[in-house]
């Protein structure tokens, strides 16, 4: 199939429809508003329903209802809107409702800014709402990856009966790039025989619910969820990595930041510095194991994020104290420059005292 030029936010919608998403419930917010705009036109044409909800809270609860009724559905927003959706996301996790939630991250806290940010890492990878739960979370670094991982997200949501997050940022949402829509590898999905579709008075009622009033019963339910999360940790980790064995410096970054880091890495290599890189594609589950491949020549690991330092906690867990971990961060919507990152790489390669 030939490539088409698409904006990141439009690609979210196009990929979702391609993946069989029939229902979109959303509320406008910069910098993700092109997603509901695109869906309002494209989804009815594809035989689906677009509904602009009265709030982010209502939108995610409509997703809860539609997902619980057995449909492929999604919502999308940006940081403050995703905070509002946390109630519905934890309920969907508890009730095991498959759905896809897209976050085009912007600066925070509070109303913050409308520029790109990665400051929702904790929220995306640690649950975000109340209770013990996890959501598979893809962090695309290009419009092509938006297409690939949004499509994959629907399969994974159905496979695990779990909400799946896409954590991108305002930059990827707004940029235009050439993309190709490839058919994802076919996957055996369980029948949705738990969904509320009407009993027809032919079977026992299906109940979609996250309430377990008896502590013992909730513990059993939670332990079952835990097993599911363990399977995701074993099977769903995705990352890109290179040059780890003989690296003097390893840089870790995801999403938009990883592209800037790649420019800096190239410049550093041209200067003769051995630089490796780890780019998590799933930020939960996090690719901890790959950190073991970092060789003994490494003088330091540089974590680059558009945040005050959130993924760095996972980098430290992965490193297990073997190698010093340094941080390069920008905040509030400020995007780092390759030069700024190169300087840090050079400092670490030269030996920081």
């Amino acid at each position: 199939m030939s490539k088409v030029l698409m904006k990141g936010n439009e690609a979210v919608g196009a990929a979702a429809i391609k993946a069989g998403c029939k229902y979109f419930f959303g509320y406008p917010i910069t910098p993700s508003s092109e997603i509901p705009e695109y869906m309002s036109k494209a989804l009815p044409e594809a035989g689906g329903v677009f509904l602009q909800a009265e709030s982010e809270v209502a939108a995610i609860n409509m997703v809860y209802g539609a997902g619980g009724a057995g449909a492929r559905c999604m919502t999308a927003s940006s940081s403050p809107g995703i905070s509002l959706k946390q109630e519905g996301i934890t309920y969907a996790a508890g009730a095991e409702i498959p759905c896809v939630i897209v976050n085009m991250m912007r600066g925070g806290p509070g109303l913050g800014s409308i520029q790109p940010s990665q400051a929702d890492y904790f929220q995306s990878t640690r649950g975000g709402g109340n209770g013990d739960y996890r959501t598979l979370c893809y962090a695309p670094a290009s419009v092509q990856e938006i297409v690939d991982y949004v499509m994959l997200a629907f399969d994974k949501a159905d496979y695990y009966r779990n909400p799946v997050l896409i954590a991108a940022d305002g930059m990827i949402g707004q940029v235009m790039e050439a993309v190709e829509f490839k058919e994802p590898a076919p996957i055996d999905l369980p029948a949705k025989d738990w969904a509320t579709t009407g009993t027809g008075e032919k079977r026992k009622p299906n109940v979609v619910n996250s309430l377990y009033l008896q502590a013992d019963a909730l513990q059993v339910h939670n332990k079952n969820l835990e097993k599911k999360y363990k399977l995701m940790e074993e099977n769903e980790v995705l990352y890109e990595a290179f040059g780890l064995e003989d690296a003097e410096v390893v840089v870790v970054a995801y999403g938009t930041t990883s592209r800037i880091v790649k420019s800096a890495v190239k410049k550093a290599q041209e200067k003769g510095i051995k630089v490796g890189m780890i780019r998590p594609i799933t930020i939960w589950p996090f690719p901890y194991e790959i950190f073991k491949k970092i060789g003994n020549n490494a003088k330091g690991i540089l974590t680059v994020e558009m945040s005050a330092g959130q993924m760095i906690d996972d980098v430290k867990i992965g490193t297990e104290g073997r190698i010093p971990v340094y941080f390069n961060g920008t905040q509030g919507g400020v995007v780092p420059t390759p030069q700024n990152i190169l300087e840090d790489i050079e400092k670490i390669a030269g030996g920081i005292r």
Binding site: A58, N61, G65
Partner: protein, 248 residues
């Protein structure tokens, strides 16, 4: 022998957890009977609230979803958009619908969402132990209005049926009570008609049911019904506020 009365098959065999004298049981029965009599029990998908009737998903003999507090109309919207041919209803209390869920109920009505809402108003938060609700009457003592609801502090109680009747998308709005057998019969009629409104594809339908809470009102069940009659009905007048057929 002939059967003169039996439990509706619209209800499961799970025993109700409701307090003695609570009218949720009666209202559940009316909803279940209406679904059976309209022949749509197998097509019904209900949404339970947070509050005393949170466990309604165990009692109705149809597919059910349990919603977050106040969000039942949004959840019901999601279900109805996926299954426009099914009969979708929400069953909500006054804390759920009239306080934390006002945005969801107003906009479901505003969209003319083809769902049916059963709104149980007992002027108090029952499940959490008798706190003030948006529907608590002025002067009524609760655990968070120990000196009686003070209008200067908390305003007057909210009249949901009247408010929703101003919205074009709401095609059936009626307030009923279950304090007497006669009123229970009227309540049944209204609930049935609210489902008919959905079946005809007219738009949003809601029945506000005045209900008693002997436990948290601190009254015996008969005295609680007297209190409902003497105090709630004067402030919350019974009657139809909107019907999908002119002149009804």
């Amino acid at each position: 022998m002939t059967i003169v009365y039996e439990k509706s098959r619209g209800l499961t065999d799970v025993p109700f957890h409701y307090c003695p004298g609570c009218t949720h049981g009666v209202i559940h029965k009316l909803v279940a009977e209406s679904l059976v009599e309209l022949g749509v029990l197998g097509d019904a998908i209900g949404v339970a609230p947070v509050g005393c009737s949170v466990l309604a998903y165990n009692y109705f003999n149809c597919d059910m979803q349990e919603a977050a507090h106040g969000r039942a109309p949004a959840v019901a919207t999601g279900i109805k958009r996926v299954h426009p041919d099914k009969v979708v209803f929400s069953y909500q209390g006054d804390g759920d619908l009239a306080s934390i869920g006002t945005a969801e109920i107003v906009h479901a009505a505003h969209r003319g969402e083809k769902i049916t809402t059963i709104f149980v108003n007992n002027a108090i938060y029952g499940m959490t132990g008798g706190q003030m609700a948006p529907t608590t009457l002025v002067g009524q003592k609760t655990t968070t209005s120990p000196f009686g609801r003070d209008e200067a502090l908390s305003g007057k109680p909210i009249r949901i049926a009247e408010m929703l009747a101003t919205i074009d998308g709401a095609k059936f709005v009626e307030r009923v009570s279950v304090d007497t057998p006669a009123n229970i019969r009227k309540a049944k009629k209204a609930i049935k008609r609210a489902f008919e409104c959905q079946l005809k594809g007219e738009g949003f339908a809601i029945v506000e049911v005045l209900s008693s809470c002997p436990t948290n009102w601190g009254l015996t069940p008969p005295k609680a019904l007297d209190w409902l009659r003497d105090n709630m009905i004067p402030y919350y007048p019974l009657g139809n506020f909107r019907d999908f057929e002119e002149g009804k």
